[in-house]
């Protein structure tokens, strides 16, 4: 056993040694140890380097508020996590831990030159240093600071772990398993409530784990705790350890992160690493205790400087003495007890320095009994020691005597206690300054919650137990139950009092003092004063200017000290300056926990059409369109996309192409007022459209801009089959419902999404009619009976079918709608029958090319939410004699009829071979000085097999009045010139539709 381990002390298991590595060296601890306690047991305090100045640092706490002892942890390949708090990470055989922010190693670190340069890295350096000279940014600041900055190393491998998520409903959620939380849970459970008790540590108990000397109702604290835990379990209380309440959200939803495997040697099969719980609780009891505050003095960050309460925890919970010879500096009674415990365990206490002038007489007597010198009314003016504290320099406050040097290998500090009200703060509950306790306490409560114990300023185990029981009873009463008060007899309790201080009196000029307030972000008292001097008045501004409290610990230790020092510099009282806001999560939480199941294939649903399987089997290359995956092209042999698309285009125009259009949005609009509703929604007139005919419909927003389009068939006087774009289906239905429900509730119309009811097979090409004719029953396919833009209900291969004649390619085309479940069978029959015509399946890429050759727009590609029907050259789709339609009034607004609007046009590159880049900007004169005047941009661009050259669509300012003009498209390799044409390239007279 190492000399710093106290036999028989603590809750570790001396029969179960556990070996792990720290920076590659073997370290032995015991089951129950954390990385920090195991290293401290080896006499080792140095565990990391600070973020900004790379100063050597050791743990100052024994809990989740730890700012310094951040380590990387590794469990074999793929499992690395930076910024783990050594004070929370339990050890297990094989754990590989490493220190951070150091190069080449922890004892000698090159980054420590930052420490010598601290004058240029003072408050606001983020805002000042990097502003000028401009040229320094790219060459110096960016590369150098990027290399040196950052906390830990981001993992480079894919996270192989799984993360789970659960919901939980409970009557009473108790956050914190210390005395207050235990008492509250017991009272609520005995009153019959369903109770959930969570604690972030490996076991419940809180303060009781660090104060075994206390006796509760005649029992030793740990015996009482064991009995209480059994009683709670017997009452059905759900006790969740290693579980952090990370955030308190609306209406009593509390987020919990349960860590399931980070402490285990072997990972159980199928066990998630963490589980995120969303708990909805009828009442919440926050019993999160209090956090000890450091004192602020020159050199207070040296390894070996530690909060007194944490030293007491290391001794009593882990059986570790944090030093052989400890000094104490305090403004609170509690540090005396830590000193006494340490003394009684065999360490020397070189002195207790009390910054107060008159410590309690009984504490002085206890110190004297142990032969410990107490220096009341003294201040610390500095510390010494390179990688570990070696001495502390003290002087009488306000006195003239010389400073004394006291040798020590650990310095226990205490500046008093701050209630842990982070979760309460998430609820926007307000805090009020309590002058007597010199701290903020909960004031206005906004959620159905209670704060118990130290959170309300009750110090000591007895007070916490009694308040916990009272708050448990209050929660029961709020739920309509009944619970009586409960008293506890507590002996050897350690309630005490103290004083809140700012930076301690100095032995040097204020400007030379490096007294740390925020250890993790390396913010000193001097930085805070500088921020005030430079004009910061609001505490929120001081926080951002100095970054005080902005590290991953969110200032758990630094906030109150920072506030006090800022208030002093401002010459105002602390409560007038106010606190900054705490936000979730309470402690750093993995992205894995938040992502839960939503990763990989489960990140988002993939919608597949009934024909998707055929496409996959036949070598389709897919692309995502909204949530759908669609076949993009069907390469044969070693064809690339260009070759495949060129072949698909050629085959379709020459003979016959087949395309899966099932993803088209479909809405059935039914009712006596269906035509009137269509008149009001779409720009086009619908009244005179006869049943059996179809029309291209254009949908605007009330701002006049194109939102969606699609072919709409009238099946009967009171029934329309509307198609929408693939991505717009849900949006269009929502918009229609909105107008129907809230603007025109008098219309008798019903809207139904039928997107997934129909499989849609588009067949295009001169042989399209010949292909389908043998399958169709109950419809006349002759051009006279079924002209372009018509629809007929019939049977297709015996199946109910809505057969559209329409064309998005410029060729003779049909869209066969059959019940979705028959989609693939029909497709396969058409493929077989089409062999005579060299039927060619094509994908979305060919569809895009064919439509662009015809100048048909894709909403969202050729339009961007600022394009009117007139801009797009589709004034013909706007009904001229309608009383109203969505967007009609806006089309008359001055801005929307201005001459210099951008129009949709075609572009043909002058060389006839260059394909323009979609999104490229268009200018009139490529030699004009920068920034150039831009006329518009390229919206669609393809190689066109039919035209034998690349074609493009573009929006160009005043484009329709610039036909034949040459414009220029500046590209990286030089400017490309192109001629403006009409946005229709192939068969502009639509001769090919007349089949």
């Amino acid at each position: 056993m190492s000399p710093f381990r106290v036999p028989g002390r603590g809750r570790i298991d001396p029969d179960r040694p556990v070996a792990f590595t720290f920076d590659g060296k073997r370290v032995e601890g015991y089951a129950g140890d954390t990385v920090a306690s195991a290293l401290l047991a080896q006499g080792r305090h140095l565990m990391g380097r600070s973020f900004k100045y790379h100063r050597p640092r050791g743990p100052v706490t024994a809990g989740s508020e730890e700012p310094n002892a951040l380590i990387g942890t590794r469990r074999g390949p793929g499992r690395f996590e930076p910024n783990t708090r050594a004070t929370m990470q339990e050890i297990w055989p094989g754990l590989a831990a490493e220190s951070q922010n150091r190069f080449p190693d922890l004892r000698f670190d090159i980054g420590a030159v930052n420490d010598a340069a601290h004058k240029v890295l003072s408050a606001g350096f983020y805002y000042k240093t990097f502003m000028w000279p401009r040229g320094f940014w790219d060459k110096v600041y960016e590369p150098v600071i990027r290399a040196a900055a950052g906390l830990g190393k981001a993992p480079s491998e894919r996270d192989p772990d799984r993360y789970a998520a659960r919901y939980l409903h409970t009557d009473v959620l108790v956050v914190g398993g210390g005395p207050a939380g235990l008492a509250a849970a017991r009272v609520a459970a005995e009153a019959g409530q369903r109770v959930t008790l969570v604690d972030e540590h490996a076991e419940i108990g809180g303060t009781l784990l660090s104060e075994p000397q206390a006796r509760i109702d005649g029992q030793a604290a740990w015996d009482w705790l064991a009995a209480e835990r059994d009683a709670l379990a017997g009452l059905g209380v759900r006790i969740m350890t290693r579980t952090t309440a990370i955030g308190y959200y609306h209406q009593n939803m509390v987020g919990l992160c349960e860590r399931l495997t980070d402490h285990l040697e072997t990972l159980p099969e199928d066990m998630p690493r963490e589980r995120l719980w969303r708990v909805r609780a009828a009442r919440v009891i926050l019993a999160q205790g209090a956090l000890e505050k450091p004192l602020v003095f020159h050199g207070n960050d040296r390894p070996g400087v530690m909060l007194a309460g944490s030293a007491q925890t290391y001794l009593n919970r882990f059986g570790v003495r944090v030093g052989d010879r400890a000094a104490v500096v305090t403004s609170h009674d509690s540090a005396y007890h830590a000193a006494f415990d340490l003394h009684d365990a065999g360490s020397a206490i070189s002195a207790i320095v009390d910054v107060r002038t008159a410590p309690e007489a009984d504490l002085l007597a206890e110190a004297e009994r142990r032969g410990i010198a107490v220096l009341a009314g003294h201040s610390v003016t500095g510390t010494a020691g390179r990688l570990r504290i070696a001495s502390v320099e003290v002087a009488a406050t306000g006195g003239t005597g010389p400073a004394r040097k006291i040798a020590c290998d650990a310095l226990l500090i205490s500046g008093g206690w701050t209630p842990s009200l982070h979760l309460f703060s998430h609820t926007k509950g307000s805090l009020a300054w309590d002058a007597e306790r010199q701290t903020f306490l909960p004031d206005r409560i906004t959620e159905a919650c209670h704060i118990a114990g130290a959170g309300r300023g009750f110090w000591g185990i007895g007070a916490a137990l009694r308040d916990g029981a009272a708050m448990g009873a209050a929660a029961v009463a709020a739920l309509g139950g009944e619970a009586g008060a409960r008293d506890f007899e507590v002996a050897a309790d350690r309630a005490g009092s103290g004083e809140s201080r700012t930076e301690l009196p100095r032995g040097r000029a204020a400007g030379k003092s490096r007294a740390f307030v925020d250890f993790q972000n390396d913010v000193t008292a001097k930085d805070l004063r500088l921020a005030v001097k430079e004009g910061m008045r609001s505490i929120e501004h001081v926080k951002r200017y100095t970054t005080n409290g902005m590290a991953t610990d969110q200032g758990k230790m630094s906030n109150i000290n920072g506030l006090n020092i800022t208030a002093e510099a401002l010459g105002r009282a602390a409560p007038e300056v106010g606190l900054t806001t705490f936000r979730p999560p309470y402690t750093p939480t993995t992205f894995g926990a938040f992502a839960g199941y939503h990763r990989g294939d489960h990140f988002e649903v993939t919608r597949k059409t009934p024909i998707d399987g055929w496409a996959e089997e036949n070598g389709a290359v897919f692309e995502p369109v909204g949530q759908w995956r669609r076949a993009r092209y069907f390469p044969q042999g070693d064809e690339d996309m260009d070759a495949a698309v060129s072949r698909e285009c050629r085959a379709t125009r020459a003979s016959l192409g087949i395309f899966d259009a099932s993803t088209l949005g479909k809405i059935e609009i039914v009712g006596p007022d269906a035509a009137e509703f269509m008149n009001r929604m779409y720009t086009n007139p619908w009244t005179k459209l006869a049943p059996g005919r179809a029309r291209y419909g254009l949908l605007l927003g009330d701002d006049g801009f194109i939102r969606d389009d699609g072919v709409i068939g009238r099946l009967a006087d009171d029934r329309f089959h509307v198609t929408t774009t693939t991505g717009g289906a849900a949006r269009v239905l929502n918009m229609m419902e909105d107008y129907l429900q809230t603007e025109w509730p008098d219309l008798k119309v019903w809207l139904t999404s039928t997107t997934e009811q129909w499989a849609v097979i588009a067949v295009n090409g001169p042989n399209a009619r010949k292909l389908i004719a043998p399958f169709v029953e109950g419809a006349d396919l002759t051009p006279e009976a079924l002209p372009h833009m018509s629809v007929v209900a019939c049977r297709f291969d015996g199946l109910p079918c809505r057969l559209f004649r329409l064309s998005f390619t410029g060729e003779l085309g049909f869209e066969i709608n059959v019940p979705a479940r028959h989609g693939r069978a029909v497709w396969e029959k058409l493929m077989a029958a089409g062999a005579d015509y060299d039927i060619t399946p094509y994908g979305t890429e060919t569809m895009h090319v064919l439509r662009a050759e015809k100048g048909f727009i894709i909403v969202g590609q050729d339009t961007d939410g600022t394009v009117t029907p007139y801009d797009a050259g589709m004034g013909w789709a706007v009904g001229k004699n309608k009383a109203d339609f969505v967007g009609m009034r806006a089309l008359m607004r001055p801005d929307l009829i201005a001459a210099e609007r951008k129009h949709l046009v075609g572009l043909l590159t002058e060389d006839g071979t260059t394909k323009l880049e979609e999104g490229a900007q268009i200018v009139l004169d490529p030699d004009q000085p920068r920034p150039m005047t831009m006329l518009g941009h390229v919206t669609s661009s393809y190689r066109s097999d039919a035209m034998g050259r690349p074609i493009a669509l573009a929006v160009v300012m005043g484009g329709r009045d610039r036909m034949g003009e040459i414009v220029h498209i500046p590209m990286e390799g030089g400017s490309v010139s192109a001629t403006i044409t009409a946005p229709s390239f192939y068969d502009p007279e639509n001769e090919r539709l007349k089949l």
Partner: protein, 98 residues
């Protein structure tokens, strides 16, 4: 996650079932008589209230209906929900008086 009361379903349900739909009581003017300014205001001018704000929601994954709500934009608390087409409730009155 907020819990929202659907005035049609009569149930208080998780926010996930609902979709926000912009400010409530923005009247769409008669397009045949509306001036450019009136149409501009209808399209673009919103109250951006700090505090109680009347807004529209849709129980999109439930009954599918649009309704109105008064939500405090500071506390993010729903003060009332009520059917579309009904006036904004006077929240200074008790629930019986409304």
């Amino acid at each position: 996650m907020l819990l929202i009361h659907c005035p049609y379903c009569g149930e208080t349900l998780p926010e996930l079932e609902f979709a926000y739909a912009g400010e409530a009581h923005v009247v769409r003017p008669d397009p045949s008589t509306a001036s450019d300014e009136q149409w501009r205001d209808f399209l673009f001018i919103r109250s951006n209230a700090k505090g109680p704000h009347a807004e529209r929601w849709r129980h999109i994954h439930g009954c599918g209906r649009f309704f109105n709500a008064v939500r405090d934009t500071v506390s993010d608390r729903f003060l009332a929900t009520y059917p579309a087409g009904t006036p904004r409730p006077d929240l200074s009155l008790s629930e019986d008086e409304r």
